[in-house]
């Protein structure tokens, strides 16, 4: 088990080192003069020259690389070309919003997708199966922005049930502000016993989270259904059936655990993907998350920000995979010896 863990960690570190080298090369090779971007569109030649020195762009490339790696090792992702603030602190400010959104989305997807996938697999060709397959196809293929607009029209415009956009109402921001602890507004407001803010944050979270949930939901339904169908045909499942065990017990308590590893891998993948892929959702719902930040960074050629996001997503991806590997090892004792 320890051996297994150490190997996975080393592999992750290797992936991250590769990623950091790649990001360095891309920053230096990419077109556009970072110094010119740094000083803005109205800068004088002298200002650009000064920026070149400030940013260390006049030094030899190997020296720049050494500085870059040293900074990275200290968690320093450089300065944003747009705002001149540390990219790390900006990401720290934007990331929790995305995490809150994506985590809620994935949780919704799991809570709905997992049981539906199981029910579908229990009676292939049955009603649940038909519904599940239809929903899975719809939720995977429906364009995100379309779904987002649809939800807004129905729940904001027509029914007036849920807010249009934002993370929390402006009144809460002005009068019942949430002190930042975790950066998850729902969690922070709860921790402070600030109910007004909590319900506002929760109401704001629903529509974007449901939008985010659509794609992973479809994937999860299909993954669970497919892997469960494989598992259900196995002898050990049939044996339990032949010995009178109840269908639901077999499906949810036994077979699901066998079907979980491939599903978990998919969930981990969608999670990392969703973190940057949330741009459309974040933009429609005006959610100040990493997707918005990245889009803005790309538009403004803000290389340090783009690369910072890349590294952070890389770390999240590696950590997530490690966690999934560990969970799978926890589920399946045979893996631990691999």
């Amino acid at each position: 088990m320890l051996h297994f863990f150490v190997r996975r960690v080393l592999l992750g570190v290797l992936v991250l080192i590769g990623l950091s080298v790649l990001t360095f090369i891309i920053t230096r090779v990419a077109p556009g003069d970072p110094a010119a971007l740094w000083v803005g569109p109205r800068a004088s030649v002298a200002q650009i020259e000064r920026a070149t020195v400030t940013l260390g762009l006049n030094r030899p490339l190997p020296v720049q690389y050494a500085i870059y790696m040293d900074d990275l090792a200290h968690g320093n992702l450089g300065l944003s070309i747009e705002t001149h603030r540390p990219v790390s602190s900006e990401i720290a400010s934007y990331l929790p919003a995305s995490l809150e959104l994506v985590v809620s989305g994935i949780v919704i997807a799991i809570l709905l997708g997992l049981p539906l996938g199981v029910l579908a697999a229990m009676r292939p060709g049955g009603v649940f199966d038909a519904v599940a397959r239809l929903l899975a196809v719809l939720s995977v293929s429906v364009p995100t922005f379309w779904l987002a607009f649809l939800l807004q029209i129905v729940f904001f415009k027509d029914l007036g049930l849920l807010p249009l956009a934002g993370r929390v109402s402006n009144l809460v921001i002005a009068l019942d502000p949430i002190t930042r602890i975790t950066g998850f507004m729902t969690v922070d407001s709860l921790l402070q016993g600030n109910w007004v803010a909590f319900f506002s944050a929760l109401r704001h979270l629903v529509l974007p989270a449901v939008t985010i949930a659509a794609y992973p939901f479809g994937l999860i339904v299909r993954m669970v259904r497919a892997s469960l169908l494989d598992v259900i045909a196995l002898d050990h499942v049939r044996l339990l059936r032949a010995l009178g065990q109840k269908r639901y017990t077999i499906a949810f308590r036994y077979a699901l655990k066998n079907a979980l590893p491939p599903t978990l891998t998919v969930i981990a993948l969608t999670f990392a993907y969703s973190l940057t892929g949330t741009f459309l959702v974040e933009s429609v719902f005006n959610w100040p998350g990493l997707g918005n930040y990245t889009a803005q960074a790309v538009i403004t050629n803000n290389y340090p920000a783009v690369m910072g996001v890349t590294i952070v997503i890389g770390v999240i991806y590696v950590v997530l995979n490690l966690v999934v590997d560990l969970v799978i090892a926890g589920i399946d004792p045979r893996v631990r010896y691999v």
Partner: protein, 322 residues
């Protein structure tokens, strides 16, 4: 009095071209406390016959088309899925062929057993653990208490088979369907398991449908055998009689093919087994039978004979006296 009585049991598989017959059983009976050996080549339909009792088939495309399966006077074939639930495990226990695939690799072996005890006997917590330990001890598993929390891959094949037997008898069924429980194991283990099954049968007055393709194994332990070919019983009777004086050419060939020391799989019999579905009329064995005559291909022989030893062969008297 017969505990189990199967008549006209018809198992089909749904295919694109319509249902295809896999098993068409004329009759099979099992007395209370009796161990019956169901013997036949691979593909002859032994497993499906055994599974027909609980109606848990390998795939949803296989189903029971017709016939009656009377267990203790009640026809299981007429029961719905919900009523069958009460039969499975409680009245009929099942042991599968492959001990490697029949235990869930991601659960400790005690877990499904204890869940079954909770389900069938309402035993939970400490009571379930105690009973599980007792059952493990009963199937002669060493260090039973510790074994409960072990994973299948930590057990030997024989131990896994014993775990399965413990699960099958957990609810005290009247009938145990043991589908080649020994095939995957080596000889000494096979013998031990057979003895264990025989002990359990005697102790609990349980009937055992013992499925095997090894006549040698059957010879010592089983009072009565039924020989299957192409989805039907072709000969049945007391083990001694069937082995000594086979009335069906197929049984004869089987006996000639029995490996030395009753070990290993059957030697090949000339020709290949013909699927039941391809037999339009006449005797199913005709294409491979050295005794076959024209009338064999026209008339389907019924299971008949003097007394309890019966065979489905038009020329059984000749076969007997060759």
């Amino acid at each position: 009095m017969a505990l189990l009585s199967m008549r006209g049991v018809h198992v089909v598989v749904d295919t694109a071209e319509g249902p295809r017959t896999l098993v068409r059983l004329s009759e099979l009976e099992l007395a209370e406390g009796e161990m019956l050996g169901l013997v036949g080549e691979t593909g002859s339909g032994k497993t499906l016959t055994g599974l027909a009792v609980t109606r848990v088939f390998p795939t949803p495309s296989i189903r029971l088309q017709g016939g009656s399966i009377e267990l203790g006077g009640r026809d299981l074939a007429g029961l719905g899925e919900r009523e069958l639930l009460a039969v499975r495990g409680r009245e009929v226990g099942v042991v599968f062929q492959d001990p490697n695939a029949s235990l869930n690799p991601v659960f400790p072996v005690g877990r499904p057993l204890m869940d079954l005890l909770g389900l069938h006997r309402s035993l939970r917590g400490q009571a379930a653990v105690a009973e599980a330990v007792r059952l493990f001890q009963r199937v002669e598993l060493p260090d039973a208490a510790a074994l409960l929390s072990r994973y299948p891959h930590e057990l030997s094949g024989g131990q896994r088979q014993r775990v399965m037997i413990a699960m099958a008898i957990a609810a005290g069924p009247k009938l145990l369907v043991a589908d080649e429980p020994t095939t995957a194991l080596d000889v000494t283990v096979q013998a031990e398991l057979l003895r264990l099954l025989d002990d359990l049968r005697r102790e609990a007055g349980m009937s055992v449908l013992f499925i095997t393709h090894n006549l040698g194994v059957v010879a010592h332990m089983v009072e009565r055998v039924a020989i299957m070919y192409a989805g039907d019983v072709v000969e049945t009777g007391p083990t001694r009689a069937v082995l000594k004086e086979p009335r069906h050419p197929y049984t004869r060939l089987l006996l000639e093919a029995v490996p030395r020391q009753g070990q290993g799989r059957l030697k090949a019999i000339a020709g290949t087994a013909v699927p039941r579905s391809e037999i339009a009329q006449g005797c199913a064995f005709a294409s491979r039978c050295p005794f076959a005559q024209d009338r064999c291909r026209a008339i389907e022989p019924a299971l008949e004979g003097p007394g309890v030893h019966r065979a489905a062969c038009l020329r059984q008297e000749e076969v007997l006296h060759v």
